[in-house]
């Protein structure tokens, strides 16, 4: 009896989230997030992608605890090029007697570093260029978009390659080069979004209240571009990881003894015919992580923009 009364007076959490008449801004926001999450979690592959990435962050955070051996110091005497499954070396060892599993675990930190830094350099640059261009219009727009189109037309990998060759090899320069080649699509998206908001009533209202263009772009336009930008950045992550691995493979990215996955494949290349696992294992790691990003990106796109779903 009392239970029925409880239900009728206080709504369950789910009802509260899905309420048509949210009583506070917080409730409305949480409700929206909940709807997106429901749409997202229906997609099993997308959830798998999310799980992979949570796993990646976990592994990177606890690499010290999880790794059974040192990632840079190997046992040159007794454990060179051991096959996978050897006692104590689950994925085998490389030519310097280093445990491949430990190197992969530590390497996840480098992968996360690359992805994170490229995202926080390229996305804001694209966001600023796009919103300013879209809001200002006129010749500012013409010049900025011309510049964006020029960069968009370049082959990314080859340009990054030449840039790192000039800057000198190293993981910082690789990150910089990838960031330089990744911002144009973000500028395009941010501009397109800005154009749709620019003439809306609420912008006119803020303008009437005396907000400066700087304030309008920063506080009233940029936040609205974020969600489509996040989707695009997530979808690009796989490409960024592959480019970074490619640069590492060519010896232009992280330098030895850093356990960068692409560079690990390059060092295993010499033994590929007899000790295939040295080059094969890091490739699986790259494949799994970029698959994770692709699945998550697809899922996010479908959840945030149902129009595009399944296309």
């Amino acid at each position: 009896m009392s239970e029925i009364e409880m239900k009728s007076t206080t709504p369950t959490l789910r009802e509260w989230l899905l309420s048509d008449k949210p009583e506070s801004r917080r409730q409305a926001r949480l409700g929206r997030l909940y709807i997106i999450w429901r749409r997202f979690s229906e997609n099993r592959l997308a959830v798998a992608g999310l799980a992979i990435l949570i796993g990646l962050v976990f592994v990177a955070a606890f690499a010290d605890v999880l790794a059974p051996h040192s990632p840079v110091q190997g046992d040159l005497r007794y454990s060179r090029l051991l096959p996978p499954g050897t006692a104590g070396y689950l994925l085998g060892t490389d030519d310097q007697g280093r445990d491949i599993l430990s190197r992969l675990l530590y390497g996840s930190r480098l992968t996360l570093l690359v992805v994170f830094l490229v995202a926080i350099i390229a996305a804001p640059v694209g966001l600023i260029v796009g919103t300013v261009s879209g809001y200002a219009g006129g010749w500012v727009d013409a010049i900025l978009m011309r510049l964006t189109d020029i960069f968009l037309a370049f082959p990314k990998l080859v340009l990054a390659l030449a840039l790192v060759a000039a800057l000198g090899p190293g993981i910082e320069n690789a990150i910089l080069a990838i960031a330089v080649t990744s911002w144009p699509p973000y500028a395009r998206i941010a501009r397109a979004e800005t154009m749709t908001f620019r003439n809306s009533d609420y912008i006119a209202a803020v303008k009437l209240m005396g907000a400066s263009p700087f304030r309008i772009v920063l506080f009233h336009i940029m936040p609205l571009c974020i969600s489509s930008l996040i989707v695009r950045v997530t979808l690009d992550m796989a490409g960024i990881i592959l480019t970074a691995a490619g640069l590492g493979f060519l010896g232009l990215g992280a330098q030895p003894p850093l356990p960068e996955w692409g560079a690990m494949i390059a060092s295993g290349r010499r033994f590929i015919l007899d000790q295939w696992w040295v080059a094969a294992m890091p490739g699986f790691a790259i494949l799994i992580v970029s698959l994770g990003f692709n699945l998550l990106g697809d899922g996010l796109r479908d959840a945030l923009d149902p129009k595009e779903a399944g296309q």
Binding site: P155, V158, A166, L242, L291
Partner: protein, 355 residues
């Protein structure tokens, strides 16, 4: 006179001509600024990023007067805009300097190696398009089925796998274990001296000279790197085909065709695919451009003597002239294909023309 007639009239008369002139002018501006942008970026990479390009050439132990002389020869004492002007003039005449590694002019080297890259990218695109389009159509027609899921997974893996790693594994499997294909390289050493290429496109040359044994050998060399590039192009093409086809299949003319009693095969392959063909051509052109770039890593794995291998070899020997020359050529062709596909789209699709 109906509205339609007056519109076509305007199109034929002055208004249309000036609109056409405007479009052409805009296109010309795009072409010029994009290529100037490419030159500016390679100039920036070659001249501004290194602290002192002269030191990079002579090394830091060279005496001061040598460094000074090299600086003068390179024109490094001039203001930057003059340097850029000279740089553009040289690039337009195909002068990218001399390769330190081969001691040839970079342009001569590139002319020698580029056909190999074109050949590989063409084979890759052919494989990608011939398999990717039917797979994409299948996935769209049987949306949500097992076949659709499989095509999707094939595509997803293509988007996520490092090409150089897959190439290495393919070499181990198909060359070392199964011995189905030839070892890395473009042609067997036996034929290297007996076979005289004319155009630089070996497959074409061998076929024209009716040297069937050479052609077979060339095929055994190109099939693995070609299929690898083909797989990446397939991933992209099948995904786009699926999306275009889904769009077409939801249109009303499909319902009309069904109502007329046309067979499903005819509707899919003649009516829907024909309308999807225009954007598809753009996609195939873009994937071709992408393969030119993707060849850098693939050629390294398969010792394919093309532009990609040339660039990576030069990288390893700090031969910046060659690296930048190669970058410029790949960039120029890449941009060219991008722009061409745009033009092609306008020519093939009448709907985009009227505006």
């Amino acid at each position: 006179m109906t509205i339609l007639d007056s519109k076509t009239e305007a199109w034929r008369s002055g208004a249309g001509a000036s609109a056409f002139a405007m479009t052409s002018l805009r296109f010309l501006v795009t072409v010029v600024t994009t290529y100037l942008g490419l030159l500016a970026v390679t100039f920036f990479i070659g001249r501004v990023v290194p602290i002192d390009p002269a030191l990079a050439i002579v090394g830091d132990r060279a005496p001061a007067h040598v460094v000074e002389r090299v600086r003068e020869e390179l024109g490094l004492n001039l203001p930057l805009y003059q340097q850029f002007f000279i740089y553009v003039r040289q690039a337009l005449t195909g002068d990218f300097g001399t390769s330190v590694l081969t001691t040839n002019p970079v342009m001569t080297d590139i002319r020698r190696v580029f056909p190999a890259t074109i050949e590989l990218a063409t084979v890759g695109t052919l494989i990608g398009a011939l398999l990717g389009v039917p797979l994409g159509v299948l996935a769209a027609v049987k949306r949500g089925s097992i076949a659709d899921q499989i095509v999707r997974i094939i595509g997803l893996i293509g988007y996520s796998v490092p090409i150089f790693w897959l190439g290495l594994l393919a070499l181990v499997f198909f060359y070392a274990k199964l011995k189905w294909v030839a070892y890395p390289g473009r042609i067997d050493i036996v034929y290297e001296y007996s076979f005289t290429p004319v155009t630089g496109f070996y497959l074409l040359d061998a076929a024209m000279q009716r040297q069937w044994d050479v052609l077979w050998d060339l095929f055994r060399h190109i099939i693995l790197p070609g299929s690898l590039l083909g797989y990446f192009s397939l991933a992209y093409i099948s995904r786009m085909t699926r999306s275009f086809m889904l769009n077409e299949l939801s249109q009303e003319y499909i319902v009309a065709a069904r109502a007329k009693g046309l067979s499903e095969t005819r509707i899919i392959w003649f009516h829907a695919l024909r309308n999807a063909a225009v954007p598809l051509i753009t996609v195939i052109a873009l994937s071709y451009a992408g393969l030119l770039e993707g060849s850098v890593l693939t050629e390294t794995i398969f010792s394919w003597p093309g532009l990609g291998l040339y660039i990576t070899n030069s990288l390893q020997n700090a031969d910046m002239n060659a690296v930048l020359g190669g970058t410029m050529i790949i960039g120029a062709v890449f941009i060219g294909i991008n722009l061409l596909s745009d033009v092609l789209y306008h020519i093939l699709d009448p709907r985009t023309r009227s505006r």
